[in-house]
Amino acid sequence: MHDECVCLEGPSGAGKTLLLRAIADLDLHQGRVYLDDIERNTISGSAWRRQVGLLPAESQWWRDTVGEHFEHTDHDLLDRLGFDNEVMTWQVSRLSSGERQRLALVRMLSLHPRVLLLDEPTASLDPDNVQRVEEVIKHYRNHQPAAVLWVSHDPQQIARVANRSLYINKGQLLPRPDSVCIS
């Protein structure tokens, strides 16, 4: 998977999230994972996860204001997702679930990971914001080489964003030859 966008679909409980967590090295497992030629266990867990970013289906926030969760602010990214700079002073408790989800994406992308593991990143968004998120990820990939593993349940979205797609069921990964590939 070299700078591709691969979509992953499968029934609930098939192991999609588990696969993303295993790649991000959050759970114990026996597989081997490489980024370019670097074997994961040769670098520290935190150094690995800086390059392999996982965006969970439900974002987490632990301080009062949005800005306290960011190491640095990417104004361009915020703008593309429909936020102005004021958003950094907003109270997390007053964010809608869609705002949280989009801001979590900004938070992850501003760390410039090489691999994006996206767990249903548009699940709680309206159609306009779904389009924004898809464009932001496309723009990100155009400006720096990045591989994307994208969990989605929407066949049209998969057709729009994926170079290829995989189907997972009961822990087994299968290719989907019938999927439409648009880069």
């Binding site: 114990l28 867990g45 996860r49 390059q51 970013g53 965006l55 987490q60 938070r107 992850m108």
Partner: protein, 265 residues
């Protein structure tokens, strides 16, 4: 002033008060009657035993025997720390983290107090060494228990947040820093409060005991100040050590959050 010795009848009268409390608890269905009775019986037997042991020890001062008693005290304290936590570390770690932390803090502070500050001859004179170590261990035990209990509970409750921070490439120490700080604070607050209110709200037990035994109040006060400083340092050191080692144990060498290292409730 000479010491008024207590007769068994005096103790029986005090015991009647506890029996009254147990009866009240039964009447109000608090479900504590049995616990009160057992705890009272334990106090009586344990204190009588230690009284006899100390009597024998004071008559034959031996470093070996003192070391043995100190070891038993440490093991019991380590066991108490483990059992009083709702969701402690699993396996030997649950016993080891508390015990090692209390050993580091209580033994070093007691040794310092005996050798450098009080200076009895010999330095291990049991009249000083055993009560000092007992007070250090007792208070450190409470601090370590509170700190470790908070650490493991909070890590469990905030596991999704800790993992979200790991996903952003933070290292284990960053993700647990808030919880660790709070746990250390919780462990130390009771002793700091005790220092702040000593003499105003309560007369500390050791000082009261010395005064009852006939010591001049100012001498008793000086000892109490020394003890409070030592207890605070000891509890702080023990809590910091236990929470630090315990928090590291919540993660593995790949810096994954490993809640399977906690005991199943």
């Amino acid at each position: 002033m000479h010491l008024v010795t207590l007769t068994p009848i005096d103790l029986v009268m005090a015991a009647l008060l506890v029996a009254l409390l147990a009866a009240l608890s039964m009447r109000m269905q608090l479900g504590l009657a049995m616990e009160i009775t057992i705890a009272a019986a334990r106090t009586t037997v344990q204190l009588l035993l230690i009284g006899l042991i100390l009597k024998a020890l004071f008559a034959n001062v031996s470093l070996l025997w003192i070391a043995l008693i100190a070891f038993v005290m440490l093991m019991v304290a380590g066991h108490e720390v483990m059992t009083r936590q709702q969701r402690g570390l699993a396996g030997w770690w649950g016993f080891g983290v508390g015990t090692v932390s209390m050993f580091i803090s209580s033994f070093s502070v007691t040794l310092l107090a005996l050798v450098v500050i009080i200076g009895p001859d010999p330095w291990y004179t049991p009249q000083y060494a055993i009560p000092l170590l007992g007070m250090m261990l007792g208070n450190t035990m409470s601090g370590v228990t509170l700190g470790m209990d908070r650490l493991t509970q909070a890590a469990w409750q905030q596991r999704t947040i800790i993992e979200a921070r790991l996903m952003l490439g933070q290292d284990w120490a960053q993700t647990i820093a808030d919880i660790r700080r709070e746990s250390m604070r919780v462990g130390m607050i009771p002793t700091i409060n005790a220092m702040a209110t000593a003499g105003l709200v309560s007369l500390p037990g050791m000082m009261t005991g010395q005064i009852l035994a006939g010591s001049p109040p100012v001498e008793a006060v000086k000892y109490q100040i020394l003890i409070m400083f030592l207890i605070t340092a000891c509890t702080g050191l023990g809590t910091v050590a236990a929470v630090w080692i315990g928090s590291r144990r919540l993660f593995d060498d790949r810096q994954r959050l490993r809640l399977d290292h906690l005991r199943v409730r």
